[in-house]
């Protein structure tokens, strides 16, 4: 499966933004100090569009995902500022009860590990019906059963009638992940967040699963946010990419732009540390050093200490987010000149 092939299946994103995130901040308050896990993130997602969020472990990707559905880990995590506007409604201002009716219905989420995402003591059909009933308490039994069957069919599960009676331990990881997908899509949400949806699957199943997500998007026009650290996944599925580092987006651009003209040295470094198949076997490149501690962030650019292109200014002042091309923004003092472009 190639990127071109998938692109052909997806309609051009239409212009109305379904999700608008402005300056979202989620901090974790612990006895060691305040961790700024998400520190001022802004982006928009249009219907039928796929946004990839890339970054290394601990950059705040998953925390961002949880903040979008207003479920930062209790009791330490708290959303301290910003707006998450879904269809013109700010989710941050909603009551907990209103928020519950949004989760799973208007904004859904697929978690990392399909092996663990299903309750081992109930059959798959039972859990699907439960997922449907959560937002439709008085639904007729027959209707619910028909809908859960329909949901299984929509994710191309073979022999769905039989599968409904199966327990999670009787299924493969890929099958479980499809069922989790079916549960997430049961209400045709406008936004689907997939937090590393393919990490636990093996490579052949990964491609199938990504194709399935694109297929669902094609049919329902759902806006998808894929959180990953795999540029292969990004290349195959995303329209836009946001690179996250130490709680902030350092660069956002259409997918081809990111690959061809990275305007932030961190993006460049991430791209360079991918395994390459087109060159002769070389040592895998890595980014020297560690991300900064989120409890004790530097004043200047958060990547500066690890950046080989850093100038004095980088250490003194955080760079503003500047627009460099259509839909391409980066937060780096040297993005205009991009000295890393040749390397």
């Amino acid at each position: 499966m190639t990127a071109q092939h998938l692109d052909a299946m997806v309609p051009k994103p239409d212009t109305a933004p379904v999700l608008q995130v402005e300056d979202l901040r989620t901090y974790l308050f612990t006895s060691w100090g305040t961790t700024k896990a998400v520190d001022g993130v802004s982006f928009t997602l249009k219907a039928g569009e796929t946004l990839g969020i890339v970054g290394e472990s601990g950059s705040g990707k998953s925390m961002l995902a949880l903040s979008l559905v207003r479920l930062p880990p209790e009791p330490a995590g708290r959303i301290v500022g910003g707006r998450v506007v879904l269809n013109g409604r700010d989710l941050i201002g909603l009551s907990e009860k209103e928020m519950r009716s949004v989760r799973g219905k208007e904004i859904s989420m697929i978690l990392q590990d399909p092996q663990q995402s299903l309750n081992p003591v109930f059959s798959v059909g039972n859990q699907l019906e439960e997922a449907i009933r959560v937002h439709d308490r008085d639904a007729d039994d027959e209707v619910v059963r028909a809908r859960s069957l329909q949901a299984l069919k929509s994710v191309h599960v073979p022999a769905p009638e039989r599968r409904l009676k199966n327990f999670p331990h009787q299924m493969s990881g890929g099958m479980k992940q499809r069922i989790v997908g079916a549960m997430a899509m049961a209400y045709q949400p406008q936004v689907l967040i997939a937090d590393e949806p393919t990490t636990a699957l093996d490579v052949t199943i990964q491609a199938q699963y990504l194709r399935l997500l694109k297929d669902l998007q094609h049919r329902t026009g759902v806006g998808i946010i894929i959180i990953t650290h795999d540029f292969g996944v990004v290349a195959e599925t995303c329209d836009n990419v946001a690179v996250m580092y130490a709680g902030r987006f350092v660069e956002q651009a259409p997918v081809e732009e990111i690959f061809d003209h990275p305007r932030h040295p961190y993006t460049r470094a991430l791209l360079d540390s991918r395994p390459k198949t087109d060159l002769k076997a070389t040592r895998l490149q890595s980014i020297e050093g560690q991300p900064p501690s989120l409890t004790d962030l530097p004043v200047g650019c958060r990547f500066a200490v690890r950046c080989s292109y850093a100038i004095d200014k980088c250490h003194d002042e955080y760079p503003p987010t500047t627009s460099l091309a259509e839909g391409h923004v980066a937060a780096c003092w040297r993005s205009e000149e991009s000295p890393w472009a040749s390397g």
Partner: protein, 318 residues
């Protein structure tokens, strides 16, 4: 009672041996569906089930129909009659009589009723109270957890017998008192176990999935947490029946339990204590009942723990 059980016991041992030979065959061909009794490592403890059924449950339920003596009033003329197989023994009193001429077998059967009632009532109370508190503490954490954990620690550190003696000395022994005392001492072990399990279930992906799917909290507790700690709860309850019977017997033995002349097994052991060298049967049979029932319940609990383990289920069904 236990003597009558002997043939049954031999019978069912041969049954389970038959099951074993089946098992080794079934394993060799990799049979996809193995029945309960065909699992070698985890054979059903039929012997224990029979003992619990015939020594505890059935006598307790049908005490009025299977006995023909009064458990409380004896015939002094027949006092200290030995069991039937001994010299002077008669079939009228199969297991002999005590100092007051009461039939030991009859009292054993009514004693089973007391043991079963005390254990089921206290375990019901203990399990409901304990698991509710444990569930809330484990799931919500914070001050609820701190408070409940403190309660658990406090109650687990109380010496049961001493506590019982104090309470009984203050308000006098009665059926209700003994139930209250035992319930107070066992809820904490339920709470501790359920809290621990809840802590781990709370962190699972399926609970996280339920959260992001907009499931209300009470529903997450009822649908995802409780069913996943239920196994532990069932096993613990089974094991606790033995503990409670032992505790009730001990308390009755020292006089802080079931008030005389009610035929608790512990009371009976205590009553025969001073005759133990001559009329050994008065203490021996209730003691044997306690031993067999408590041991069997423990074996059943062990088996249940393995049987209810989801991993075993997976292996069994392939």
């Amino acid at each position: 009672m236990s003597v009558r059980n002997q043939p049954t016991r031999a019978d069912n041992e041969s049954t389970s041996m038959l099951g074993t030979s089946f098992d080794s065959e079934g394993q060799a061909v990799g049979a996809p569906r193995r029945r309960l009794w065909e699992r070698r490592s985890n054979r059903v403890p039929w012997v224990s089930i029979f003992i619990v059924l015939f020594v505890l449950v059935l006598p307790a339920l049908f005490a009025d129909f299977i006995t023909y003596h009064d458990p409380l009033r004896g015939n002094l003329a027949d006092r200290l009659t030995p069991p039937f197989w001994m010299e002077d023994g008669t079939w009228t009193y199969p297991l002999g009589t005590d100092k007051q001429g009461r039939d030991v077998l009859t009292r054993l059967i009514y004693g089973a009723r007391i043991s079963l009632t005390v254990s089921s009532v206290t375990i019901l109370i203990g399990a409901v109270v304990g698991s509710t508190l444990g569930l809330l503490a484990g799931f919500f954490g914070g001050w609820i957890d701190r408070f409940v954990s403190w309660l658990i620690d406090t109650f687990l550190s109380l010496p049961n017998v001493l506590l019982a003696l104090v309470i009984v000395a203050a308000i006098g022994p009665s059926f209700v008192t003994i139930i209250a005392i035992i319930a107070i001492t066992i809820w904490a072990s339920f709470a501790r176990q359920v809290r621990g399990e809840t802590l781990s279930v709370r962190e699972t992906e399926y609970v996280a999935r339920a959260h992001v799917a907009g499931t209300p909290t009470w529903r997450i507790l009822a649908r995802h947490v409780l069913p996943n700690v239920a196994n532990t709860l069932i096993v613990l309850a089974t094991l606790q029946v033995g503990v409670v019977i032992l505790e009730e017997s001990s308390l009755s033995f020292i006089g802080a339990g079931i008030p005389r002349p009610n035929p608790s097994w512990g009371v009976m052991v205590a009553d025969g204590r001073d005759q133990i060298l001559i009329s050994w049967w008065i203490s021996f049979f209730p003691g044997l009942c306690i031993l067999l029932v408590v041991l069997s319940l423990n074996l059943m609990g062990d088996w249940l723990r393995d049987f209810l383990d989801p991993k075993m289920r997976q292996r069994g069904r392939g």
